[in-house]
Amino acid sequence: MSEIDSFRAETRAWLEANCPPEMRQPVKSEADTCWGGKRFQFQSEAQRLWLQRMGERGWTVPTWPKEYGGGGLDAAQAAVLREEMAALKCRIPLASFGIWMLGPALLKYGNEAQKREHLPRIARGEIRWCQGYSEPNAGSDLASLATKAEITDSGFIVTGQKVWTSYADEADWIFCLTRTSTAAKHTGISFLLIDMSTPGVSTRPIKLISGKSPFCETFFDSVPVPRENLVGTLNDGWTVAKYLLQHEREMISAIGDRDLPKPVGASAVERLGRDASGRLDEPVLRAEIARFEVDEAAFRAWMKMAATQARRGEANPATASALKYYGAELNKRRWELMMAIGGADALEWEGERSRDGAAARTWLRTKANSIEGGTSEVQLNVVAKRILNLPGA
């Protein structure tokens, strides 16, 4: 038995022994996700146990080094773990911006003390992080941020406001871009880690058009931050931010691949029926759906192609922008069609019949797809410049 085969056998055995049966059921709603953190309320003992066991083994972050709480697996082993978890239908033990975003940044730009301090607690789900990038007057032009970090003897005093901080009201710490110099736009930014229990930090949820509030405004009123919480070089936080943005886009562009929603055409027939010729009984809507499904099939094929190319190291990194752009626009089109199919039913906003307006709220939610994580316009700029090499973009 090769080394990887025996790793596979051990992994399967361990998962079978340690993953509680409840954690092998499909996720039913957002509420089933385990986010960890000091204030997190576990939905079940099984959820708590699953996190604890995986965390102890470092398998919440399989490829991180062991000394920082990771599993120390190589790429092949990590793939085996993913495959075996999929085979047993194990849920992901921990969803975390710490894992997805801050971790990679610390591994690349953090100093030894920062890694030892923060990474293990991320891995074990003890601390929940949120991201403080956007500001009310920055938007797509992220680097024009104004939140001020005044330099003091012991560190910084931070004053300003962030916006679109996901789940800031439930997070323990925030990683932030702050302005430490006004001399130049991109080279006056520093990347700070801030404990949200520090006096002067406050948050306010933002009510969205979908009626939900996954984002907050976060305010800093003369918040003291110790010097050791600076990641990377003073005034060079933009380098860290760019690295993370690229990471984020790849993550967002991969989301579409996770689970395939029911085909629009099939939903339409189910709801609207067929005419005498066996076609969907709405000729023009049928044509619009069919055109959409051609594009969707092609997009799925593109995602697979891009993944293969990325694995081979043949992909232009800006491909993530192209995929992010197209996927966002496609999902918006999907939900415009779903609303048309749903007709009057899909217009309901409350009550059991419409599951509290689930269709309408999802439709409204998709409008953010082309804004968050870099607007569609920004992605097209990136494609024009980095893939097509067009001048002066």
Binding site: G139, A344, D345, S376
Partner: protein, 373 residues
Amino acid sequence: MTWNLDESQRLLRDSARTFMAERAPVAHLRALRDGSDAQGHSPALWQAFAEQGYSAVLVPEAHGGLGLGLVEAGVIAEQIGRNLTPTPWLPTAVLAAWLLQRAGSAAQQSAWLPRIAAAGTVLALAIDEAARHRPQTIATTATQTGDGWRLQGSKLFVVDGHVAEAFIVAARTEGGTALLLVPADAAGVRVERTAMVDSHNAARVQFDGVTLAADALIGSVADGAALLEATLDVGRAVVAAELLGLADEVFARTVQYLKERKQFDRLIGEFQALQHRAAELHCDLELTRAIVGAALDAAAVDPAAARLIVSQAKARAALTANRAVQEGVQMHGGIGMTDAVDFGLFMKRARVLQEWLGDSAYHIDRAATIAGY
């Protein structure tokens, strides 16, 4: 037309513009929504519509109305669209008023038209039975009994149905289609208010063996289908005008934002890609304005001869409004996604108006059928 107005029509437009902006701006809708208002509209505002004459626009002078036409109705609808004003005006003062003045018996006209003109009632049209608009296939049945009717069926997307005093119900019956006036308090009528995405008002209504007197019928059974179609086309032309007003307002606000918002040290309105999209949208708005005007003109003369252009206008207005709200949200970026600004409200309302009386797919298909292919 909404653009080719004579002097008195311009005065009406200016009055409606001022009135809606002052009395029923978007903040009015917000207040009703956030207060979870039981009626979902303001009876005081509805009364004020009467003072302004808006509820009387299609009611003949003989019945206390102004005896004006669809162009005037379109002018008012446009301003309602701009302000997202929640009001039972369209079902009552357009759909019901037009149908009654066209086909109501003398008794029906005397009973209802003066009260419509005075905003003393709310009437609602009950047509749709499934999620999508299909007025050709009605399952609700009206059975002629010895001395009247027996009505059985259920309706949905009955706009303003939860505050209606009576419904005008389309039902299949022997020999054609019956349009029946049904009091909301008749035995066997069950009304369920549906909270809509746009915070406007609609209901699902069940008619369970409702018995009605013979004089509940509007017009004749033989003419019922044609009368229904004409009424719907009148409504569609006016809804198209409401969509136009909404799209105009959203676009104006978006262009304004392009001139104010800075990104990458430039006003975002300087970016050519946004400029071109805005310019294309301007074209869409102009041609929508033109065809909505032409549809109102044509329907004012004879809805039966205006079927094609009405479908074209409703489809085009839906497409334009859809693009306007989508661009409005996108060009505003994250702030456009928040409930704090009005763009979400415009987007939600646009979606409901798109669906109401048939969406663009429905009307593009209908236009092709009418054109013979």
